[in-house]
């Protein structure tokens, strides 16, 4: 019991540190002095979203110890809702800062190569939220495959979007967080795939 608890503490501490480091480093960015509060909030909403995207696959694949599957799933669902909020804050804050740039992005005519990745990830996230709301009415397989496919698009879209941008995030911590987000998502999807195959070998 004692061993398990300390392992849990280490895991929680590690995950929290990995999520917090890029946010703390971004808070020291020199760019912030030339930005107003709305623009800064828009940037940090996105950084928080990227950090939370690391927690999502860890929660759902049972990688966080001392958290029952039920609790983990509920937290995963709750964070999903928060993610929608952060993306709305991100886009809304940028819209207030420079409306024509955001209109170009949403209409897929922006000159910046990274924006299309962000927009695709945004719509996939909104679609996931909608799918989650409709979940009681749809078949389990549709939900599973739908959520998995959308999650894949969200992860890839977000990571490419973040890596191509020159912004408040410090490069090394941003790259590290992006790599971890991809690895965590890949592991969760692989585990899910394995578990399903084990459960229903007849269907293969």
């Amino acid at each position: 019991m004692k061993v398990r608890l300390s392992r849990a503490a280490v895991t929680w501490g590690l995950v929290a540190a990995v999520m917090a480091t890029p946010i703390i480093l971004a808070a020291t960015s020199p760019l912030l002095q030339w930005r107003g509060p709305v623009y800064i909030a828009a940037g940090f909403a996105r950084i928080a979203a990227l950090a939370l995207m690391l927690a999502q696959p860890l929660l759902i694949s049972g990688s966080i110890p001392s958290l029952s599957p039920y609790r983990a799933r509920r937290l995963h669902r709750w964070i999903g809702g928060v993610l929608v909020g952060t993306v709305v804050m991100h886009v809304g804050g940028l819209w207030i800062t420079s409306p024509p740039d955001v209109v170009d992005v949403l209409l897929f005519r922006s000159p910046t190569p990274f924006s299309v990745w962000g927009v695709v990830a945004m719509w996939s996230l909104f679609a996931t939220a909608l799918l989650a709301l409709m979940r009681p009415k749809i078949r389990a397989r549709v939900w599973r495959n739908g959520h998995m496919a959308l999650a894949l698009v969200i992860v890839i879209g977000t990571v490419v979007h973040a890596l191509l941008i020159e912004g408040a995030m410090e490069t090394a911590s941003k790259t590290a967080l992006c790599v971890l987000v991809v690895l965590a998502a890949a592991k969760a999807m692989f585990d899910m795939h394995q578990r399903r195959n084990r459960r229903s070998p007849a269907r293969r």
């Binding site: 800062t97 024509p100 740039d101 170009d104 000159p111 910046t112 020159e166 912004g167």
Partner: protein, 162 residues
């Protein structure tokens, strides 16, 4: 004053034209006639404010925006053309009135305006330029800095009579 920025497009266009001219034995002034007008860039007109004043320097300065203005076809340098410049700098947003200024080209068609340091905004360190005086067709440019630590940025106009 440094020369043109040789991006892939100018290199391909220039190289292609030179090859074609060499192969066909076309005289030099006929080659120059092929100089095509600069097209507006996507997002170039974002946060544009018409009628920014001609200024000696924008804000505290320290950063140089420069370039050339030439006539489409023969490539003749255009003197006295008004070029408007704006960007997100250490002193303000693109949309702030103080972030907008204009300057005129000299006898060689060269313009050069000192302004505050451009800083990355909306993911890229970039500037905006406009030719909007009406004698030629309006052009909006949005050059991106190779590095956000650069202390200067260039943009070049080839204008077509309106």
């Amino acid at each position: 004053m440094t020369g043109f920025v040789f991006d892939r497009r100018t290199l391909l266009a220039g190289g292609g034209a030179a090859l074609a001219a060499g192969a066909l034995g076309i005289p030099v002034d006929a080659q120059a006639k092929s100089l095509s007008p600069t097209r507006s860039m996507r997002g170039g007109s974002n946060n544009y404010r018409a009628g920014a004043p001609i200024v000696e320097r924008m804000g505290g300065g320290g950063f140089w925006m420069s370039g050339t203005v030439r006539r489409a076809g023969d490539g003749k340098p255009l003197e006295g053309q008004r070029i408007q410049i704006w960007a997100h700098t250490t002193e303000g947003y693109e949309s702030d009135w103080e972030s907008h200024g204009a300057t005129l080209t000299d006898a060689n068609g060269v313009f050069r305006l000192e302004m505050p340091q451009i800083v990355p905004a909306f993911g890229q360190a970039h500037g905006h330029l406009a030719y909007d005086s009406g004698d030629f067709e309006t052009v909006f440019l949005r050059p991106v800095m190779a590095s956000s630590r650069d202390k200067s940025l260039e943009a070049h106009f080839v204008l077509k009579p309106a």
